[in-house]
Symmetry: C2
Subunit: 953 residues, 2 copies
Amino acid sequence: MKAVYFFGNGKAEGNKDQKNLLGGKGANLAEMTNIGLPVPPGFTISTEVCLDFVRTGRYPRSLEPEVRAALAKVEKAMGKKFGDAKNPLLVSVRSGARASMPGMMDTVLNLGLTDETVQGLIAATGNERFAYDSYRRFVAMYGDVVLDLKPQTKEERDPFEELLTAKKQARGVENDTDLSAADLKELVGEFKAAIRKRTGKPFPESAEEQLWGAIGAVFRSWNNKRAIAYRKLNHIPDSWGTAVNVQSMVYGNMGEDCGTGVAFTRDPASGENLFYGEFLVNAQGEDVVAGTRTPRKIEEMKSEMPEIYEQLLDVRETLEQHFRDMMDIEFTIERGRLFMLQCRVGKRTGFSSVRIAVEMAEEGLITQEEALKRVEPEALNQLLRPVFDAAGKKAAVGEGRLLAKGLPAGPGAACGRIVFFAEDAKEWKARGEQVILARHETSPEDIEGMNASLGFLTAFGGMTSHAALVARQMGKVAVVGCGQLTFDYPERTMTVKTPKGEVVVREGDWISLDGFTGEVISARVETRPSEVVAVLVERSLEPRKAPVYRLYAKLLGWADQVRVLRVRANADQPDQSTASVAFGAEGIGLCRTEHMFFGPGKIEPMREMILAETVEERRRALAKLLPLQRKDFAGIFEAMGPRPVTIRTLDPPLHEFLPHERAEQEELAQATGRTLEQVQARIAQLHEANPMLGHRGCRLGISYPEITEMQAEAIFEAACDVAAKGGKPHPEVMIPLVGTAKELEVQAKIVRECADRVFARRKRKVNYSVGTMIEVPRGALTAGEIAKTAEFFSFGTNDLTQTTFGLSRDDVPKVLSSYLEQEIYAVDPFVSIDEPGVGKLMEWAVAHGRETRPGMKIGICGEHGGDPSSIELCHRLGLDYVSCSPFRIPIARLTAARAALRDGAKMSAPKTAPKAAAKPKAKKTAARPAKSNHKSTPSKAKPKAKTAPGRRR
Amino acid sequence: MKAVYFFGNGKAEGNKDQKNLLGGKGANLAEMTNIGLPVPPGFTISTEVCLDFVRTGRYPRSLEPEVRAALAKVEKAMGKKFGDAKNPLLVSVRSGARASMPGMMDTVLNLGLTDETVQGLIAATGNERFAYDSYRRFVAMYGDVVLDLKPQTKEERDPFEELLTAKKQARGVENDTDLSAADLKELVGEFKAAIRKRTGKPFPESAEEQLWGAIGAVFRSWNNKRAIAYRKLNHIPDSWGTAVNVQSMVYGNMGEDCGTGVAFTRDPASGENLFYGEFLVNAQGEDVVAGTRTPRKIEEMKSEMPEIYEQLLDVRETLEQHFRDMMDIEFTIERGRLFMLQCRVGKRTGFSSVRIAVEMAEEGLITQEEALKRVEPEALNQLLRPVFDAAGKKAAVGEGRLLAKGLPAGPGAACGRIVFFAEDAKEWKARGEQVILARHETSPEDIEGMNASLGFLTAFGGMTSHAALVARQMGKVAVVGCGQLTFDYPERTMTVKTPKGEVVVREGDWISLDGFTGEVISARVETRPSEVVAVLVERSLEPRKAPVYRLYAKLLGWADQVRVLRVRANADQPDQSTASVAFGAEGIGLCRTEHMFFGPGKIEPMREMILAETVEERRRALAKLLPLQRKDFAGIFEAMGPRPVTIRTLDPPLHEFLPHERAEQEELAQATGRTLEQVQARIAQLHEANPMLGHRGCRLGISYPEITEMQAEAIFEAACDVAAKGGKPHPEVMIPLVGTAKELEVQAKIVRECADRVFARRKRKVNYSVGTMIEVPRGALTAGEIAKTAEFFSFGTNDLTQTTFGLSRDDVPKVLSSYLEQEIYAVDPFVSIDEPGVGKLMEWAVAHGRETRPGMKIGICGEHGGDPSSIELCHRLGLDYVSCSPFRIPIARLTAARAALRDGAKMSAPKTAPKAAAKPKAKKTAARPAKSNHKSTPSKAKPKAKTAPGRRR
């Protein structure tokens, strides 16, 4: 087992693909060396040695000679000798695990300094203060890291900090930099004395002893408390271990021809293809981090250090061509010479990830497949939603205006004046105000006020509460379940419990909601609108004037070429349908008819129907609803063209439609010629202990077949109307909450008989199908039976999750926080489908459903339909489509493409052949995508049939 | 294919085992003939002919010659000729399907009468009036049945009834019997004219034509509307068909040496071994049915017709020995000669079914296995519960005192004075009153008042509502979900909507509840107490003075010899535990700890705990609860001896323990030093939209680990206390509502750590295990994972049914009635486990649980544990035990035995060898049980290990 990997002089024993063995830092140092970048020479001790050391407490026998040999190579490359009194080699010892674990493990710099070698350093640099400053830093670091003098609690104090402070007080100075070389030299002595006192042993005066001490300390740090806790939190296995990187020191603080800096090969915020970074002259890396001096923009280097700047531009080019990604680099300039200390793939915003991926693919640096893989689907939200002006938000938070934090249920940024009643939201909007609606919780009655608001804020409910669902469907910003809020509706105020006391927010106050983070800010923070929405939905911007839209369209165009899963929208209204199509919906997967019963002229006959005591009375009320539903359906069919529209029959329990307030109840009583007592009695009668498990879904249609009849009639009449005007409507009638085959049989019969009647009357036929939601476990378990009647299945994974777990999404906040904290649930099952439970039922239902009805169309229309990890599961399960809120359609399209790629799919027709990387050294990796594209011969490519999706299984 | 089966002259072509081919009536007529009983000769046309005829509309070619041949044999046996003018043979033509379908299909009597043959009948009987009376009856019956003149709607009138009425008016008489022979002769003519008018054809004057007409009519009647509807209701397949029985007529109405009667070979009500029946002299069977004359007791025949009576006693003996069961017979005496017209296994009460089965086994007539198979488990209820005095109840109902009907949730009969508050029930009971507690619904707070009541009546809730559960657990009578009731608590009245208007019941009024039927009677109906309970539980009766107890003990002793499933009790208190053991419980399968938190001194610290705002505060309150729980557990361990006691940790949501009424809330506020607002705020905070799916079960223990700790400590301390006194307690700690393996891990760790602490402190160890309930689908789906921690599973099928169907048991009444009516559910899934859904999950959990942990102990503790069909399923699934309410333990023991027998089990050591049947003719069937007993050699018998049950799979 080789333990030590040297790098230096343009040749490394390792490479970037050995991250498991050498850690991320070590692998990239080797790679940079190999591609000719100026890396200070050094060596990496492998993670295998760490694991061995952790297990046995000892180093393998081969380690010492290998370290010795590698060190000799470093000495040779640097022309210095480790521990030499004249020309000493100094090194850094750093940990470096497979995944970045920032600040979790330990580092020692300037290692190799002793009372002897420091003289050599003075001689070599001609700078005594610099040498002693380095020395005292090294002794303190070594004491902390290797000799365990680092304070373990907040109460303890660092002995070296104490001595430094005492020294500054004695000298009457304020800054470290005001201490003289002599002061620093004294400090070295005092530090060493402190170490001897605390450990009982002298500070090691042998460079070699120092080195082995530091190596052991880094390995041991893999199992320190912080590192263990971090790994647990980030799901990093203990079995990975860390590597140790020993590298010769270079100094950016030796004078005006020295410096240090960090840079990104493209702008990490905007993604723009320009060199972006900061640097400091005569400084070490820690000065940049500490923020004691303000770094300068990298462009200024052009005039200050033109040669170095040119070199850096070359490095940038080399790295991008080689790594084929935007890289984050650290560099140091020692006496006019550039050294690369680190490089890694750069972190970026969602926005820049899209721009970088698309532009790199256009540049031919990466393939379109890679571009798709590079963009996390959620990143698209930053292209679709308004976002805050970053400076504005920072300023407001800085001023202490951050009020509270809730659940980010509707992404985006919204700023407006707060109102507490849905009616007010409508009124204020009408007079031109931007409004935010805040309520304890919202209910279907609030729907119009919600439409008039830019965002919603609620105290109650989770990620699938009413406010959250509506927000995602309407594309509004929402922060929900914000428990710190209490409402005083009569006073029109909201009180917020904050750590600093209570804050009262009054009607009309400005408030800003960050739907990405859940933050609630009591200030007016400016927002930037979404180009994509302006182009596609509002049609207020021309595409050619919208560069962001161009990126979006490009990326999603590629996604559509590769994905197999179709994407539909959950939409209830014509305008939502239009927006869905603009976002690329291939149909409607869930049209909830209950939303159609709210609003003027609709809720009244609905309530009349519910209060009815006889079938005849009920039919009379339903007859009033029929034309209203028909009109809604016709609008949707028109908007969707020939795309399928899945319409769910009435689902929620009837009591949801009745008024809660006495005044409204009185109104209702008067309007329907009843007494208040009668109305209240009916409300009491409809009360349910567990409405989620109550009289709803197909159970309503079975108790009141006339409701299903009316809805079917409205659907088929609307379809005939639209067809008569030349449309090609394609309704799919979906019966909810089916648990037994017989329930569906009974309801499907009503629907089919109704279709026959309407078609006969209209002398016209329209293509339609009847299917069901699979949303209770029994529906999944008996899917084989149900498929005898069902022509399609659609998984209602919200309810399926509730019933599979026995956990109400309305009540989930009480349970969920401690569950996620204790890692009882790895992920909120209402956000991502729970694969071992809910996923198992889905798998069962797909298998048995298609056994009965081969090739059966199966989709999903729960909220999970817009969640990337759930979409991947749907792809693996062989579903035909996912359906989600309109604003999540682009995310779903991208996720579906990524799932297909992961499954081995290839682009059917790449528009740009990626060019081979420019530099010969990068051959091995850069060649891979090109190669795989050549491989995708036409016979292997999966053409995406746009009208009839081929079944995968 | 043989189509016709003759019987007569002591020899039949069929036998009793051919019910599928000959129908029940035909097979038993054949059998009676074969064993030498006097059966009027005749023949049966098989069901296969019926099916053929229904399918093709034609008879098979062979039918006519076979009928002719059989008819010839009948003629020969009777010495008469069919259609002969001198000595005509008359026959009846009756349907007879495999299962009895009373009144659903058609019968024609006196067939063969024509204007010619009637003269022969006159000559043979010397009774013109009798002959014409028979003739007119025949013509009318034939017209109705064969020629379709029977009215099809209520508005239509029967033409023959009209003519008869007209004739009586014309003659100025009131009764049919007052019409003369001449009148009747005229009527025959008028009937025939009517037939000709309506059908356009003359009445058939050929006996043969009549016969074929009648045969066809009977076959066609298989598909008449009534029959189809009846089959659908009773789940009788259309594919069975009916047989046709053609039998020579005998007459009981030819004079004083004639008669007719029905009898049972034992008393069908009490089961006593005596001949029980009724007869009429000079009458036909229809006179007994019509109730125009009051029949006399069969004993009176002894003096009146001593020879016939002796013959009947012989018949009785023969039939019982042959059929080895209590039989129901019909007979006719024609001129001093006895004829058997029908025999079938007699219907009986639950009570008599036990007595007959046990006594027949003791007599050696049947085996003990057969005795077990003969008693429907639910029949035991009649031995365990008080029952109404039948005459008393009949009288009260007759007086119109039947108020309402609800769901029979707790079997038995209870009579007492009505009260509307639990406190009143306690008070009234204390002053010696018998009380019935009536409430809109009951809640855990009512528990003491419920204990003081004989029965409960509620307006709300289903078979698994709180009142129902408590009733079954306490052995109380309950009628629940009686929607016609409304309560006015301040006025202390209950108003009942009845078809005749509203009835107001006032506090203190006498009321009687029939928990077998759900009837509510506003009267004082006397009840008879249960001997079994008096002996076993109350110990107020000596066993030797309790003959019913003897039967019970005998039967259940046999059951215990054969069953494999163990039976445990759901019991929460020491007294319930003692009763459970008396009923044969082999352990406690479910001890619900929440019931222990109600009652004085307990609810207060519980509420304190719930209101606590810090862990410390909560711990202080829990410390007060600890000794109370410990005492309860110790009492249970003492009562149960070494039997396992499964204790479930706290399950219901905390809000169930907080008071609903303002006054009580104020009290609580004062007691805990809080404001009313604070208490109400906490109640509001704990409110849940769907409590069933809320913060309950192990979720409580995860949010508040200190609750689980306290409970575990109480369990193990109690166990140590009891062990210190020489007991052998065996606690099994059960964590509820587990859906993920991690939940159980977290809770099991707390329990085990607590056990270690207590054992160390007490210097004593007690055997225990930790397991979980499988009661949400996810628990079942991930059972393999959960079994890594769980040492046992117990299915909580109540909750599992709710979540699998997505149907709340509290809200189920709104849904269930129409579902059962439309046959969407074949059976209430809260009564019997739904096999295709819930059963599938159980099967999965058993398989995967035992895959992880071979031989794992698995039981059921939901309410289904006491339901026979569910117990059978549990046996098939390989469960180790069922657990049910104490009063259902005997039922469960019997059901488990029957399930084992069905599965092929044999009695291990039969105490009585059944003697071979006495009569040689009965050899074939009577020999079977003896044979099978001889076969059960010791090696094949399954000995029932009492301490370690062998696994079946």
